[in-house]
């Protein structure tokens, strides 16, 4: 029993890693007042570019760098549209997703070797493998935390750091002010435009890293729609986390857990059709959203940054 739990927990954490990266990234973006619905597209682009890089160079650091760069470019596009050109943030995010997923599937069919008709599907590159830490990994259930790959281990550091930066540092204070009240931030000498660009791009890099984890570690290789809607689930997870990076892993573990159980059931053979099992994360997302919203209404608490989704401009009369 303990062994079963441990093995489910191992998969839970592995599946939750990409979600956690993306959730922390989107929390930072939204804290600056920018809603980025382009996550699905950015994760797909992160996945395809990092995998292609790993396939050709077998250099994992370079693969991650490629994902970071692509995430930054797409996020910068979103920032340009919404901050500089004051476009509607919802539509801009949707367009990033549509563009990113279209381009990712094009690249997936174009970046592969000629021998495979330029297709990347079915190719193998370098991957991140789990590193088992002797001793610690022997702890029942919790030992699962120490049978992970480097990207997961990095999260143990990143999440507390992201929390500390947001709530305890001067920069975090300024970031929160920009998302709550850009007018105030502006009058206090904080550069609203720069802040929004900076954290949208930073968020995009983390989101894209989440995509890279999928194609380099969780399910190594490239497959069309490898994200399976994770980019959208993350947007719900941000709400679930009430925009607090410290709570990001909770949602990720919840959804990672659903993945793991699904995986277990399918592997163990069950009467439930696979399609129904596969619906679980999407239905769970809706339930989580309803529950979170209901709780917010009940407690008169609004977790969202007050200026989320609103363009800011100063010189207008």
């Amino acid at each position: 029993m303990i062994d079963l739990l441990t093995s489910i927990f191992v998969i839970t954490l592995r599946a939750g890693t990409s979600l956690t990266y993306a959730t922390v990234g989107e929390i930072y973006t939204e804290r600056s007042g920018i809603l980025n619905l382009g996550l699905e597209g950015m994760m797909l682009m992160g996945a395809v570019t990092s995998f292609a890089t790993s396939y050709y160079t077998h250099n994992l650091a370079l693969s991650l760098l490629a994902a970071i760069l692509v995430g930054a470019i797409l996020a910068a596009t979103h920032a340009f549209l919404t901050v500089t050109m004051r476009a509607n943030q919802v539509v801009s995010g949707l367009s990033i997703t549509l563009f990113g997923s279209g381009l990712a599937s094009f690249l997936g069919e174009r970046l592969g070797p000629a021998s495979n008709n330029y297709n990347l599907v079915g190719m193998t590159g370098s991957r991140f493998s789990p590193i088992v830490i002797p001793g610690l990994s022997q702890i029942p259930v919790l030992g699962a935390m120490f049978e992970q790959d480097i990207l997961t281990y990095a999260l143990y550091l990143l999440v507390p750091l992201a929390w500390f930066y947001l709530y305890k540092t001067r920069n975090g204070l300024n970031l929160r002010a920009v998302g709550e009240s850009p007018q105030t931030a502006d009058a206090m000498g904080i550069d609203v435009v720069k802040t929004r660009y900076l954290y949208t791009i930073l968020g995009g890099m983390l989101v894209s890293l989440g995509g890279a984890h999928l194609s380099l570690a969780y399910a190594p290789g490239w497959a069309e729609n490898i994200t399976g809607g994770r980019g959208w689930i993350v947007i719900a997870l941000v709400i679930f986390a009430m925009w607090d990076p410290a709570r990001a892993p909770l949602g990720a573990i919840l959804f990672g857990g659903i993945n793991a159980i699904q995986f277990r059931l399918q592997a163990g053979g069950t009467d439930i059709p696979a399609s129904y099992l596969n619906m679980a994360p999407y239905l769970a997302t809706i339930l989580v959203l309803i529950a979170t919203t209901w709780w917010e209404n009940l407690s008169h608490r609004v977790g969202a940054p007050a200026a989320l989704g609103l363009a800011y401009m100063r010189e207008e009369k």
């Binding site: 599937s105 947007i235 709400i239 399609s275 309803i290 401009m313």
Partner: protein
């Protein structure tokens, strides 16, 4: 010297027309760069795409075939977007429409007179699509649950459910393992007009004109516009926002449901793989590019359909990925959004004297 945006004194009508056109050209340009980078001559590719879509009567009818579901879903999306209700679930609503139509066609043919089959199938498709959009609408109106996420998540649920049907209980036992239902009785088929173009196109066109009229000449259209532009004002003016959201979304979903019915009753004549082709997402691009104008949607839908058909053509003829068409579509909204600013602002170059100059 610096460049500032300066507010115009009224909307620029030039920009309203020019921005979508320029955006399309920019997207072609970007696509050209992408094609060049992958070692293909963009001009040859584009020519092949154009010939493949408008080059002959047959290819043009194929474009219209693709335009039909796009038209339905775009009209549906436009209704929702007009109220700033971000329904990105047209895909799932379409799938449900297809499933419901198939249900009538497959299981009611024995107990009902033949002529009732088609109208009933279309009606059920409307109802199914409407429910699939109505649930997120009610969640938004009464519990304030974010609609982008609920509509999108329901897409996956609908697609997986349909897949389960044609792989499982509805699978044709005589289909030789092919995943799909049995063929519908001919009474449930949507009549063809020319080529594979079916009656659905005419219905969609009628709806486009109806919607244009409703948007511009009815109290309902007036109220939905006010809700979309300023919800606080709508409430203050005594407009029932909740009811309006639900009603608009029922119509929005019903239209997407018809798109699905058109695909099953008019094209495939069975429920099978390929019902979900991403039309619901392309609809977002179309309706935004048309600035939610139902008449403009007709033309943009045909244009976007041509990119999809063109993509298929170059895959067949040149071995290029069909996703070229999707990339071009995905690219269009980006310059479109950037250009939106110019309808209300103009660029002005301001010279600021340097301190040194001022002193001298």
């Amino acid at each position: 010297m610096r460049i500032v945006f300066e507010k115009r004194e009224s909307i620029s009508h030039w920009a309203v027309v020019l921005v979508p056109i320029i955006s399309f050209l920019v997207s072609l340009l970007f696509g050209a760069i992408l094609l060049l980078a992958s070692g293909v001559d963009p001009l040859v590719t584009y020519q092949a795409m154009a010939v493949g879509t408008f080059g002959s009567w047959h290819s043009f009818t194929e474009t219209l075939v693709k335009a039909t579901p796009l038209l339905f879903t775009s009209l549906g999306v436009a209704i929702a977007f007009r109220m700033k209700f971000w329904n990105i679930g047209a895909e799932g609503q379409l799938v449900w429409g297809g499933v419901a139509a198939a249900w009538v066609a497959l299981f009611w043919s024995k107990s009902l007179p033949g002529w009732t089959l088609l109208p009933l199938a279309l009606l059920m498709a409307c109802v199914a699509g409407a429910i699939w959009a109505g649930v997120p609408a009610a969640l938004k109106a009464y519990l304030n649950v974010d609609e982008t996420l609920t509509t999108l998540m329901l897409n996956y649920v609908a697609i997986l459910y349909a897949k389960n049907l044609y792989y499982g209980p509805w699978r044709d036992p005589e289909g030789m393992g092919f995943p799909g239902s049995a063929q519908f009785p001919a009474a449930a088929w949507l009549p063809r007009i020319t080529g594979r173009v079916h009656l659905g196109l005419i219905i969609a066109l009628i709806f486009a004109f109806l919607l244009w009229f409703a948007f511009n000449r009815t109290r309902w259209g007036f109220e939905t516009r006010i809700i979309g532009e300023n919800q606080t004002a709508a409430r203050y003016l005594g407009i029932n926002i909740k009811r309006n959201i639900v009603i608009a979304l029922l119509i929005s979903g019903a239209l997407s449901g018809l798109a699905g019915a058109g695909e099953t009753l008019g094209i495939a004549h069975r429920l099978q793989q390929g019902l979900s082709m991403g039309y619901g997402y392309t609809a977002i691009i179309i309706s935004w590019m048309s600035q939610l104008n139902p008449l403009a949607i007709i033309f943009v839908a045909v244009l976007m359909a041509s990119l999809l058909v063109g993509g298929d053509q170059i895959q067949i003829m040149m071995g290029l990925p069909a996703s070229v068409g999707v990339v071009l579509q995905g690219m269009i909204l980006i310059p479109m959004l950037a250009g939106g600013l110019f309808t209300e602002y103009r660029l002005r170059i301001v010279r600021t004297p340097k301190i040194e100059e001022a002193k001298a």
